[in-house]
Amino acid sequence: MSAAKPVYHDIHCSSPVQVSLSDIEKELTGLWHSLNRDAAGSQTLTRACMSNLVVYCDLRSEADAVLQDLPKILEVHPARVLLLIGETERTNDDLKAYLSIYYSPVSDGWQLCAEQVTVYCRQNAARRLPSIPRALCVGDLPTTLWWVSSQPPPLAGEIFYSLADNADQIIFDSIGWKNPVKGVLAVTQWIAGNDSHVIYNLAWRRLKAWRKLISEALDPVVAPDALATVSRLEIEHGPHALPVAWLLVGWLAARLKWQPVEGRLLSQSAMTWHFECGKDPIDVLVKRRDEGDAWIDQLLWSWSGNAGGTVMFYQLGERKLGVSGKGAPVAETVVAIPESDRARLVAAQMAHRFHDELFEDVLEVSNRMAAILLK
C-alpha cells in the first residue's frame, strides 16, 4: 500500500474496493491494519480527522470533478468523506459502495488523513441515501454537507433536506444556477428560516479579493467622497456569474445602507436596479458578456461629490485584479488574487464553524433585490 504513487503532494490514496454498506467499518479496520503494518519502530499509525464531509452530486461528471478536488481538500482538512452520487446508469444495483483511504508519510510511519466511502445509486434509490451518513459519520465531529449540484439546494426537495438534517454546515455554489433570480429567492428564504446550520455560498468567498480591493481603493482616507456620494455602478460579468455580481451589489447595498427601490430586466443579459441612500439615488447596471469566464469582469464606480470621479476595477485573468481612476485620487495598481480554486474554497470554509453575519446581511438585501425585480 505504501508503494502507491501520491495522488497530490504527499497524499496517497488506496485503490477503491467495493464493499457492502453494512461492512464498511469492518473493511476500514482492515485497511488501517494493512497500513499500520508498514509503520516501523515505535511509530504507530496515527489518524487526524477534523470533520465529516458529506458530498452530494447529481451527476457522474460532477462526482468526477469532486474526486479531483478531494485530495486537495483533505490535505488541509483531514476528514471522513461520504461521496453520494444520486444518479448513474452504471449498475443495476440500487446502491453500490466503494471504500478507499488517504494517508501521508509522517516520521517513520504513516498518518491516515481520510477515509472515503463512495456510494452510487440510481435515482429511485435516492431516498435511501440520507440513511448512510447517519450511520457512517464519525461521532463528535462537525459534519459538512457540500451540495454539488446545479440545482439551488432548497429547490432540490426532500433529498436535500434529509441530508441537511444530519449536517452542521452546508456549502453550495450559486455559480452556474440556471435561474439565478429564482435561486436567490429560494435560498434567501430558506436561510432566513434556518438558524441551525452554518450556510455558505462559495460565490461569496470568491468575492473576498474584490471586497478587499474596493474597500481599500475607495477608503475615505484615499478618496474622501467615493463611498458617500456614489451615483452609478456598472458591472460586467461573464456567463453563469450573475449570482456573484448579485452578491457584490448586495454587499455594497448592505454596507452602505442603500435601499432597493426599483429593479428591471432590460434584456436576457442585462438588468438594472435603482437604490436610494437617504435621498441620494444610485443606479446599478449589471450586464452579462456573451463569452468569457464565470467571474466579474469589471466594475465602474462613479461618484458626484467634490467634482466627482470614476474608478474602474477589473479582473486580469485568473489571479489578478486591477484598479485605475479617471480624475480620481485612486492610484493605479494591480493586486494578486489568492489561489481560489474550488477545493481551496471548500477546505477554507470547512474550517469556519460559525455563522457569517455579514453574508447573511448581504443575502437579506439580495432577497429584497430579487423581490423587487420580480414585482
Binding site: S42, T46, Q111, E216, V222, R255, A336
Partner: protein, 513 residues
C-alpha cells in the same frame, strides 16, 4: 486629516489584522536579510493577497544600485528562497512597487534625498504617508540611523493624525546590558515605544504561536502545567552548520548572546507564562515579562553547576570532515567564545517551584532541530511501574519548532497478548502532513503584523533589558574566569560530556532528537 474616517466596506474582511497602506523602507535593502527573508516574505504575502492594495518597498543602502538593479536582486532572492514559486504573470506588478535609493546611513543629505523619494513614491501609489523603517543593519549603525531619521523629519509623532511611522529593529539588541540600554535609549528618544517593533523571528513561527493555543485553547493541559505534574522541561535549539560566513559576528557574540538571550528565553516565557486574560499585546507581553522577573539569578560561585559552555572541535558531520571552531576562518586564535551552551534554570514562582528547565543550544550538532519537551512525572513505582530496574518511560509532550513543525506525545500502551507488556508509543502530529499547506514564514507574519500595528509577537523594551540583566550575570562570571580552557565536543555530536553531567547528576538525561 480626520482620524479613523469610517469605512463600512472593511467589515468582515479581517477582524484584527488589517495591514494599512504604507511604504516599507529597508535599511540595508541590498543585504543578506533583505535578499533571503524580507523580499521573499513580502512577495509571498502579496501573492496571497494579504498586503494592502497601496504599498511600496524602498531599499536604502550603500550599494550602487538603481530600481531595476534592486528588482533583479529581489527576483533572484525570491527565486531562490521564496516559499512560493515566482509567478511570472504577477511579478511585473510586484516589481513595479520595488524601489532603491543609494545612500550612507550616516549622511544627512542622503536622508533628505530619502524623504523626497518617499514623498514621490507615496504620491504615485496613493499611500497616505505611512512609513515603516526596517533596520536590517549592524547594531553599531542603529544610533546614527535613528537620529538621522528624526533630524530629516521622517518620524511622524503619535499625534492622532492617523498617519504612522514605525521602526523594526533586528536582534541582537546590544551585546550586553549596557549596550542594549544604550540602543533602547536612542530608540525611545526618537520614537514612542508604541512605534518600536523589536523583532525576534522565532516568535513568528507557527508552532511558537501554537504554544499559546495549545496551552490555553485546551482544557487538558493547563491543569497539569505546573510543578505537581511536570518533572522538567528541556528546550533545545540545535544547529548543524558551523559559524560559516558569520564567524566575524559570532566570535564576538557566542551561543549565549546569539541564541539564549533572545530566542530561547522567549520560548521559555511562552511555556512558563501565566494565562493572559485577553489577547491584548501588552497583557501577553506583561505575562511573559513576569517570567523573566522570576528567573532565578545564577550565582557566580555556582556557575559551573548551572551553566556549561563549550566549543566544537574537529569531527565529522554527515560523513564530512569539518574543522574545529578555533580553526574556522574568521575566528580569533585562542578564542574562548562558546559555540555551545547548556543551562539549568529555575523559575521561582508558585507554578514552577523546583522544576528545572534545561536549555541547550549549539553549532555543529548532528542535525538541525528546535524542540521544547515537557516531561511529566513518572507514575508511582507500584503496579505497572513496580520493577525498579525497568521503570516505565514517562510521558513526554514535545513541541517541535523546526524543521518538522508539530507536536508529539509519548504514551505507554499495552502490547497485544496474554502478558502485560508495556511499550511507549509516539503519537505524532505534524502541521505539514495534517494541514498540508506550507505555513507562512515567520517574517511574512511579522511584517504584516507591523503593517497592522499588532505588537504581540515583538519584544518590549523591558523584556529585552530583563533578559540582558539575567544573561549579564553569566557573562560577568565568565569574564572573571581567566582560564583559556573550554570543554570541547566533537563536531557532529550532541555536546560535551560536561553538559551530560549537568543533567545526569539530577537523574535525568538529554533527549535524543
Amino acid at each position: 486629516m480626520e482620524r479613523h474616517l469610517h469605512n463600512p466596506l472593511t467589515a468582515g474582511l479581517s477582524d484584527v489584522h488589517r495591514p494599512q497602506p504604507c511604504t516599507l523602507v529597508i535599511f540595508g535593502g541590498g543585504g543578506d536579510l533583505s535578499h533571503r527573508k524580507l523580499l521573499p516574505a513580502l512577495y509571498n504575502q502579496a501573492l496571497d493577497g494579504e498586503l494592502p492594495a497601496n504599498y511600496a518597498v524602498l531599499g536604502f543602502a550603500l550599494e550602487e544600485m538603481n530600481d531595476e538593479g534592486f528588482r533583479d536582486f529581489a527576483r533572484e532572492g525570491i527565486e531562490t528562497f521564496s516559499r512560493q514559486k515566482l509567478d511570472p504573470a504577477f511579478w511585473p506588478d510586484f516589481a513595479h512597487k520595488l524601489h532603491f535609493q543609494q545612500g550612507s546611513f550616516t549622511d544627512a543629505e542622503a536622508y533628505d534625498g530619502l524623504k523626497r523619494r518617499l514623498e514621490e513614491i507615496e504620491s504615485r501609489f496613493g499611500i497616505p504617508g505611512n512609513r515603516i523603517y526596517y533596520l536590517a543593519i549592524p547594531p553599531s549603525l542603529i544610533e546614527a540611523c535613528v537620529q538621522q531619521l528624526k533630524r530629516a523629519g521622517l518620524v511622524m509623532p503619535l499625534d492622532g493624525s492617523g498617519r504612522f511611522s514605525r521602526i523594526i529593529v533586528e536582534k541582537p539588541i546590544g551585546r550586553d546590558l549596557a549596550s542594549a540600554r544604550q540602543i533602547n535609549a536612542v530608540l525611545c528618544k526618537n520614537f514612542n515605544e508604541e512605534q518600536i517593533y523589536r523583532i525576534d523571528h522565532y516568535l513568528g513561527k507557527e508552532t511558537v504561536q501554537n504554544i499559546l493555543v495549545m496551552r490555553f485553547g485546551n482544557s487538558i493541559f493547563e491543569p497539569l502545567w505546573n510543578s505537581r505534574y511536570i518533572d522538567h522541561v528541556q528546550i533545545t535549539v540545535a544547529e548543524e552548520e558551523g559559524v560559516g560566513t558569520r564567524a566575524g559576528y559570532y566570535d564576538q557574540a557566542g551561543a549565549l548572546r546569539d541564541m539564549v538571550q533572545n530566542h530561547i528565553l522567549q520560548l521559555l516565557t511562552l511555556i512558563a507564562m501565566e494565562p493572559p486574560w485577553t489577547m491584548d499585546a501588552n497583557v501577553i507581553r506583561d505575562n511573559r515579562q513576569d517570567v523573566l522577573h522570576c528567573l532565578r539569578s545564577i550565582d557566580r560561585k555556582e556557575i559551573d553547576r548551572s551553566v556549561i559552555r563549550a566549543q566544537y572541535g574537529a569531527g565529522f558531520w554527515r560523513g564530512q570532515e569539518v574543522p574545529g571552531y578555533r580553526r574556522e576562518e574568521g575566528v580569533a586564535n585562542g578564542s574562548t567564545t562558546e559555540s555551545y551552551v547548556a543551562l539549568k534554570v529555575f523559575i521561582d514562582n508558585w507554578r514552577w517551584s523546583g522544576v528545572p528547565f534545561y536549555l541547550r543550544t549549539g553549532k555543529r550538532m548532528p542535525k538541525r532541530a528546535s524542540e521544547i519537551a515537557i516531561q511529566f512525572k513518572s507514575v508511582p513505582p507500584i503496579f505497572f511501574n513496580a520493577d525498579r530496574s525497568h521503570p516505565l518511560e514517562p510521558n513526554v509532550l514535545a513541541l517541535n519548532i523546526q524543521p518538522n513543525e508539530g507536536l508529539s506525545m509519548q504514551i505507554a500502551t499495552k502490547l497485544p497478548g496474554p502478558k502485560v507488556k508495556i511499550y511507549p508509543v509516539k503519537m505524532d502530529f505534524r502541521y505539514g502532513s495534517t494541514f498540508g499547506e506550507a505555513s507562512p514564514e515567520a517574517y511574512e507574519r511579522l511584517l504584516v503584523d507591523v503593517m497592522a500595528g499588532d505588537a504581540t509577537l515583538f519584544m518590549r523594551r523591558d523584556t529585552v533589558e530583563s533578559s540582558w540583566i539575567w544573561i549579564q550575570a553569566i557573562l560577568d562570571a565568565w569574564a572573571d574566569n581567566r582560564s583559556r580552557w573550554l570543554p570541547e565536543y566533537e563536531a557532529g555530536t550532541w555536546g560535551p560530556v560536561e553538559a551530560d553531567r549537568l543533567i545526569e547528576t539530577d537523574g535525568r538525561k538529554w533527549r535524543l532528537l
